[in-house]
Amino acid sequence: MDWLTEPFAYGFMQRALGASVIVGVVCAVVGCYVVLRAMAFLGDALAHAILPGVALAYLAGIDLLIGALVAAVVVAVGVSFILRSGAIREDTAIGIFFAAALALGVLLISTVDTYAVDLTHVLFGNVLGVSPSDLWLSGGLGLGLLLAVALLYRQLLVVSFDPVLGRTLGLRTHAIRTALFVMTAVAIVVSLRTVGVALVAAMLVTPPATAYLLTRRLPAMMALSAAIGVVSAVAGLYVSYYLDVASGSAVVLVATGIFLLAFLFAPRRGLVLRSFVFRRKNRRLLTTR
């Protein structure tokens, strides 16, 4: 059993574990709405859109997470505002933001001498570099997010399932959508250290999509998604430690593996069972004829 405890003799590994658990829970819970509202592309775009904020913070010598947070909120509100005007289609608006922000971010980072290493860390995460203050900030933001999900539970449920009802009940649907965008952006910032900008969309999408296949109510979906997120994050950390590979990639690949299992073997929606039932029905039809 030593192999389980051995990595955590080091302080940086303990912090990495803490950060991974926070990311696993927060992304998985907020991601339920990303999956149910088909916002995966937006999640990816928001993740890349925080690059300029990270770069500016780096150049100015302030905490990278704070730079990322400011940029994320600005972009989330900005996309929501453009969507509200209705002048261009949603995926077009997101596509424009996505590319522009990535370009600006890389441009800013390329002015830094050590940019290759730093850019890699920002893009793919460096969970071993989590500082105690990073951990506190992530933990605080994560708790705030979970609180927001709980407080806005009914509003988000109604607006996502039946926006027409939401409006007849007097909900300000645009404001709630903006809140959800901001929440998604904050979840991405929390994940910055662990999985990085390029892969965070997977943490928002893969565990919730897996949970969707296995549950039939939103609270259960959120709980299972969080569990899958944590398992993937922790398992990915071990893989990263022992095989000496990038932590973000390891975490995402574990999550993808769990998704594939559920996709094939889920009791109601899984591929294998469905084809089995289908064949049995066919056979029954043939024999009764």
Binding site: F161, V164, R167, L169, Y212, R217
Partner: protein
Amino acid sequence: MSDLLELRDVTVSYGGRVALESVSLTVPHGAQVAIVGPNGAGKSTLFKAMVGLIPLADGQMLIHGKPPAEYRQPVAYVPQREEVDWRFPVTVFDVVAMGRYGRGRWLKPLRAEDREIIRRSLDRLGVSDLAQRPIGELSGGQQQRVFLARALAQEPHIILLDEPFTGVDLGTKEAVLELLADLRNQSVTVLVSTHDLDLAASRFDQVVLLNRRLIAAGSPEEVFTQSHLQAAFGGQMVVVDGKVLVVDQCCGGHGPVGGTDSCQCGSCQLETEAGESEH
């Protein structure tokens, strides 16, 4: 009966195009009103304006003489079914429970009273046994009933049903008609948009004939006259042997109306005696 709902010169426009022009209407408390008219007549627009989905360009709407904002849930609206995400992980109970949310209720847990209202609403539409099933696993008719149950759970002053007889099975059509009879006993006011002129004439106290403006409103006898139908349906109407025949495009491409014998292959033929009612 006192007037419950009053529309005064209601005008609604969609991006510069006037969809409803200066519609004035009074509906007595407990009345059941059929809203009829050709496609694009503004039936759905009228409903959407009444629940605040589209702003009024002009005019006003009053409930018991007051603006709707004075009430918690003045109007419940059951839209045509395709406006909802059916793959969403919610159960039938969850959907009906949404009828108990609303102003000032977003954070309060459901009380015993709310659960009782939800249970009764499910019972009324005969979907209690489906309460724990995901909404996406239900048939179209069952889903429609769940949304009717949700409208009941809202305990509104007025219920608006947009094409409840379109594309549903016979059982659901019967359930809706039973519900209407039930609501009549409880003096709940109901407005129903429909393509089925026969049904409008036989099952409703009041008929409102629309074609972007109000053509006629009143009892079926008063409304279904040759000149009114001519004004509403124009070229879609022919007079054969003194009988008025309206050939109406059903339901905007959703297939024929389930269970009406007056409906053939995507178009409805509805007969009314010229100048007088059938009943």
